[in-house]
Structure formats: C-alpha cells, structure tokens
Amino acid sequence: MTVLLAQDPTLADFGRDPWWLVLGKILFAFVFGLLATLLGVWFERRVVGYMQVRPGPNQVGPFGLLQTLADGLKMAFKEDILPRAADKVVYFFAPVISVVCAVTALSVIPFGPMVSIFGHRTPLQVTDVPVAVLVLLACSSLAVYGVVLGGWASGSTYPLLGGLRSSAQMISYEVAMGLSIVAVFMTAGTMSTSGIVAAQASGTKLSLGGVEVPAPGWYAILLLPSFIIFFIAIVGETNRAPFDLPEAESELVAGFMTEYSSLKFALFMLSEYVAMVTMSAVTTTLFLGGWRAPAPITTVWAGANSGWWPMLWFFGKVLILVFVFVWLRGTLPRLRYDQFMRLGWKVLLPINLTWILILAGLRSIEDWQSRDRLLATAIGAGVLLLATILWPSRQPKPKPTLQEQVDNRPPGSFPLPPLDLQVPPSPRTKRVVAEREPANIAAGSDSREV
C-alpha cells in the first residue's frame, strides 16, 4: 500500500517541470478537449440514434467516425455573417471566451498519478494549486460571459432574451453546484484536485456502536446527496438536455447563438462539448475517485494504480459519464422554464443546505465518546423526525365531484348537456360489413427496415 500511496502527487510536486514538459501537458489537455469534442459529437449522435432505432451517422469514415470532422470543415467554409447591428468586437470575443473558459478548466484535472516522462518524475496534470476546485468554479462562472455577450452583441432581440435566459439558468445552477462541492471540501479537507483524489484512495473507518465499518472511499457513495445534486447541477450548467432551454431547438431557434454562423458558431458548439467533457472529468475527480481503479480491480491487481494505467480508468469513467449525459438527452423531455427554476432554487438548494448541516453536525461529533455521539445523533434524528411529522402541511382539499363542480358554476355560464346523456347510435352507422378472409401478411424482411 505504501508503494501505491507514493504515486500520489502532492502540491510540492507541481511547478518543477521543465518548460517543454509544461508545454506538452498543456498541449495534451487542449488536444484532449478537441478530440473529445470530435468523438463526443459522433458518440452522441450514434448513441441517440441507437436509442431511437435509427443508424445515426455512418457514411463518412469507419462507423461514421469522421462525420464531425466533415461537419467542422463544412462549417469553416460557410459564410461568416456579421449582422449590421452587431457590436463587432464583443461579437467576436463572445465565442472565444466560451471556448477559453471550457478548455482552461481542464488544466487542473488530474489525469493520472506520478509518471516518468523522459526521465522526469511528474504528475499527469497540467498544474495544481491549493484552490484548484475554485479555479474550476471561476472558469464556469466566467463561461456565462460568453453566453451573455454573444446574446447582447448580436444586436437583435431574440438572442438577447435567449442570452439572459441561459445566463440566469447557468448562474442559478452554479449555486447548487458550488454548495454540493462544499461537502467534498469538508470531507477531504483540501481544495486541490490531486488532494481530493488522494483523499478518496482508501475508505475511512466508521464506528457504529463500537463496530468498525469500512466506508467506501468514493465520495459518490459517501456523499450521495451531494453527488446527485452535483450531477443535476452540471447538466443544467452545461445547458444539456433536459435542461437545454437556452437553445431549445423546437421553441427558440437557437437562443443566444441565433445570429452566429460559420466558425464562430462552431466555437460555441465546441465549447458546449468541451464543457460536457470537462464537467464529466470534474465529477470523476471529485466524486468517482479520479484516476483510481474501481474497487474490485485493485484487490486482484496491485499495479492498477501505478504508471500509465490510471489514465485508462480515468477515461473510462469520463466516457461513462458522457454516456449518461447522452442517455439523459435521449430519454427525458425538456423542462419548462419555471419548472426548471423551481427545481434549482426550491428543491436542490434547500436539500443541499440541509445535507451540509447534517454532515457538519456529524463531523463535529466525530471526536466524542461513542455513547455521547450516539446520544447526539439520536437527539438530532428525533428532532428531525418530530419536525417532519409536526410540520404544518397544507392539507390537499378533496377534489369536488363532477356534480359539485356543475352546481358551483357561476350564473351565466355555458349550458351543459345532462351528465347522464346517452347518445343514441346514428342510423347512418348501420352498415353491412362484408365478410372476407382475414388478411394474413407474414412479417417480412422489410418490417425491420426503419
């Protein structure tokens, strides 16, 4: 175990690389973002196609793999339209801000442990700072500028309203996202991403009534409410279905990017997919153990967490999360705007605050004696139970019967037919039905064709 722990980079391991290694790491993170977009769009279209029983893109390249590349090239050769009322400088910078913020967040994601590159022992991470998770939050909060400025600079009403709408959405869900990370900070005791991955290495021991129970190391299990809220929040934050209100194709044309075309539009698309991959990577880092191998693998194979193998686990976890994103898009219908805001502010936020309160309470009685601790937990649970039972709830009124509804109609309402009206069958429906052989059509090969 000591060998494995030695693989964990600490904050002191950063900032010692030669310049070519730093450049290489930055290039790697950037290329990872671009490649993830190219493959991500293809992956999404294929998976959604499979879920909707249609082939999806399958013409360009093997399995249609090069479809996104072809689309990107086509996009580059399209006419770049600049609206006359647009604010030219801001119009140009808005998509750039979006992409830069999405890609920058990748720089604090740990892709793996310490490895040896050309004789240099270095962590597989561009950089890490004591406040790395705050860097992620800063990137996501600055990404809102791309949306807002894109909508405003278009000089048109619909993009402006779309931009305001989507930025209100992103800001609201950022609050829920930030609060769900608080539980991770409290448990891990650090804000650096490599430190959080290291903290999830081994399960802590919980003692319940004198019995030592090994708790799982992953915060997704240990802090399940935070994990669920965080994932819902990042789906809202990245503007993905079912929260894709900013660009709701069937309602809004394209929201804030209505006026955008050609490469600028491509940049917005790029930033959306990079943000999806980045957020999946952040979720992996914060809640799913980062680059560490899932539990059963390490028991049979001790070397799973050393060398370059962790990158495989990392990319596997990210891929699964991206699949969940696509799955959500293929399954859930889009929420209405008020439902969406109610979910964010009235459901996710209070649950999150309560959960943090409970967690803080549990953490503060950790050092007590087991009898006091049990007593404190019991009192807390009792108060919670009493509050739940005695909470003044609004009794749902019994639904009035149909007759009562009819009687309560105000005078002057439309006349109603009697409720027990029997409509006699029309004489014209009497028709002689010709006797004929039942059609017997065998299910042929063409029934599989879609």
């Binding site: 904050l11 406040v131 705050l134 800063a138 909060s141 500028y145 405003w152 930025s167 950022e174 105000p410």
Partner: protein, 256 residues
C-alpha cells in the same frame, strides 16, 4: 505551501512574478481608463471586468490564492454579471449625453485626478518603499484557505455573521419589495373574462397582424381595417413611430 508563498514571505520577487506583474498591471490600468472612457455602458462594464480579472491574478501572485479566486468568482462572475443584466435590459443606445453642463469640469477633473493619483502613489511609495512583508509565512503556515477560515471563524466571527445577516436582510427585502402576489379575489373567472371581452367598446376578435393589406412588410406598418382605416392596435407599442420617406412609400416596381 508553494514556492510562490515562500518567496513572497521572504520579500523577494521572482522573475515569473515580475513578468506577470508588468504584463497585467498595464492591462489593469487600460481596463480602468477604458471603463471611464467607454461611451457604451456595456463596454464600460466589460473594461471593469478586465481590471477585476487582473486584480484577481495579482492576489494570487501575492500568495493569496483564495482571495484571488473568490475575487474572480464573486466580483466578475456574479456582481458584474448583475450589472451587465441591468445595462443590457436598459438598452444598448443608453449612452450619456456629451453636453458639458459645468464649464471646464473635464480639465479640472483630469488635473485633480492626476494630482490625487500622484499624491497617493508617492505617499505609498515613500511609506512602504523599503519595507519587507512580515508575517506572511505565519499567516499561511497551515495553508492559505485554512488560515483565512481560522480567522473568519474565531476572531472575526461576529463581524462575519453580522455581514451575512445584513446581506440576507437585503436579499429578503428586495424580494419583498419586488414580489407582487395577486389576491385570490382579484382573479377573474371564465364568466367575468368573457363578459369583459364582449363589453361594448372592446373588440372581441384577435388583433390584426401588422402589415395586413399594407404596402410594406415591416412590423412598423399598421394593418388596414376592412373600412380602410389604419389600425394602430396592430403595431407593437414599443416600436418607435417612423415616418416613411417618399422613396419608401412609392411602388417598388416589383410587380412588373
């Protein structure tokens, strides 16, 4: 802690820090000047965002990574975003009038501003020029975040809680002032709505669309009613009244 912290505690300035400062300090100044000079209110806000971002990086350079990141998240991410919302909803052409009401106030303001900047600058330089930072290492001994947390939740806990109570009161007050709840009695039921709709003087049909039977497809062109009058109800109220030029009203020759 990182090497930066150690260096800053020792009062030295590393090469990277110096380069970052000399790159970002002019940018911060340009942002500040641009904020004052920009005619457009949104541009002004964006220049301010640039300055705030530079300040955030300066905090990080000065071995305060937490305050730097919080500066970026809270000030540029949340507060300036609110400013932008308001400015954008006010409208893009809401620039200030350029007529000077007080004669010579600009020159006076520039002279006074430069004088004030010079005074502050020389004062600070003379007061702090040769002083080395003391106590940074002790403050950051157990980590920057932990140090701030310890101070916030022990020494300054009362001020901290008081500030949070103030902010919550302000937020709740804003909500109380802005929230309008319609009383149950004020809601009209279907019968009342229909009666109001067919009351004499109210036209019960849908409003005519703009540009109906008109010579132009513009939304600003009012529709014509069956008796030939123009219907003012057909144009949106927010559109400015526009007089068409003779060239615009003349037939375009497209029907030939």
């Amino acid at each position: 802690m990182t090497t930066q912290t150690v260096l800053a505690a020792a009062g030295e300035v590393s090469g990277g820090e110096e380069v970052t400062f000399w790159v970002l300090a002019p940018l911060a100044l340009i942002g500040a000047i641009g904020m004052v000079w920009a005619r457009n209110a949104v541009h002004s806000a964006l220049w301010l965002v640039l300055t705030m971002l530079c300040l955030g990086v300066f905090y990080v350079l000065q071995a305060g990574p937490f305050i730097g990141m919080v500066q970026i998240i809270v000030y540029t991410g949340a507060i300036m975003m609110l400013f932008l919302f308001v400015l954008m909803l006010v409208g893009r052409d809401a620039s200030d009038s350029l007529i000077e009401t007080l004669r010579g106030q600009r020159i006076a303001a520039v002279v006074l501003g430069l004088g004030f900047a010079g005074l502050i600058g020389t004062g600070l330089h003379r007061a702090l020029g040769g002083t080395a930072g003391v106590g940074l290492e002790q403050a950051n001994a157990e980590g920057n975040v932990q140090g701030i947390a310890r101070l916030l939740f022990t020494k300054y806990v009362f001020a901290f809680e008081l500030t949070s109570a103030l902010l919550i009161t302000a937020a709740v007050g804003a909500m109380v002032l802005a929230h309008i709840e319609r009383r149950r009695e004020d809601r009209m039921d279907q019968v009342a709505t229909m009666k109001a709709r067919f009351r004499p003087g109210n036209y019960p049909g849908p409003k005519p669309g703009p540009g109906v039977f008109a010579t132009s497809s513009s939304v600003a062109t009012p529709a014509r009613l069956p008796d030939g009058r123009l219907s003012e109800r057909s144009t949106p109220a927010i559109l400015p009244v526009r007089e068409l030029t003779a060239e615009e009203t003349s037939p375009k020759g497209t029907d030939r």
